[in-house]
């Protein structure tokens, strides 16, 4: 409900720009988006650049220890980081991803698929960046139903009416 650009509705609103598509970085926007929606906040998520892949029907998200010295995995009671020289080897990314997914499952943490489904069910508005779609030659048909295409101005309109705007 808007009048002269002023929102007369009392509902709190939030937007999140999702720019990253790795398994670890997929979590913050979906956790906050779904939680906000559960707390009656109207949520808009704008997916751009590598974040756009998070809308693909089939997700195959990965995490890499390469260039990420903060990524220390719990192992035999210790926390073990991985030297970049090892992280660059073939197979290490899929190994680290398998370990992370295993931890996620064992600790009762939701999968990204599960959180995304929750976002859809709670009417989170999801906008796929048209420019990124063209740039990376991705197809809307490969993405989940219920999303819309839009650009910077689409996000701006939402952001101007929002109480919280996050960039992730």
């Amino acid at each position: 409900m808007t009048e002269g650009g002023v929102d007369l509705n009392n509902t709190k609103k939030m937007t999140i720009i999702c720019t990253k598509g790795t398994l670890d970085w997929a979590y913050p926007p979906f956790i906050l988006g779904t939680t906000a929606a559960a707390m009656d906040v109207e949520v808009t998520m704008f997916f751009t650049f590598y974040g756009l892949g998070l809308l693909n029907k089939d997700l195959d998200l990965k995490v890499s220890p390469l260039g990420n010295p903060a990524m220390e995995m719990p192992m035999m009671g210790m926390h073990v980081g991985m030297p970049n020289l090892v992280g660059m080897l073939p197979g290490v990314t899929s190994g680290a991803t398998a370990m992370m997914k295993n931890m996620i499952k064992n600790k009762g943490v939701a999968s990204i698929e599960e959180l995304r489904e929750a976002a859809v069910l709670s009417d989170v508005r999801m906008i796929a960046c048209q420019m990124t779609l063209d740039l990376f030659e991705m197809k809307k048909e490969d993405m989940i139903d219920g999303i819309e295409l839009g650009g910077a101005a689409t996000w701006m309109e939402s952001a101007l009416q929002s109480d919280i705007n996050l960039y992730m």
């Binding site: 559960a38 009656d40 009762g108 943490v109 709670s122």
Partner: protein, 75 residues
């Protein structure tokens, strides 16, 4: 005795909140939902959730690592 029970044991943030919201939606105003959780973070989270959404946290407790919340649907 609550009108419904949600077993959120073993689930981590934000799943207990998401599932609680879903379960609350299925109740009528004035009815209560009992939630069992093992996530220690859920204690503060359910307080914040109820304060923000206007639902009423009528009971909290802990027994052997299981946290119990009873929320009355208000909004």
């Amino acid at each position: 005795m609550a009108d419904a029970t949600l077993d959120a044991k073993g689930l981590n943030c934000p799943l207990p909140i998401l599932k609680a919201k879903k379960a609350l939606k299925e109740l009528a105003n004035g009815q209560t939902l009992e939630i069992l959780a093992t996530d220690p973070g859920s204690v503060k989270d359910f307080e914040a959730f109820t304060r923000t959404t206007g639902n009423k946290l009528v009971e909290t407790g802990e027994d052997g690592g299981v946290y119990r919340f009873v929320i009355e649907r208000v909004a």
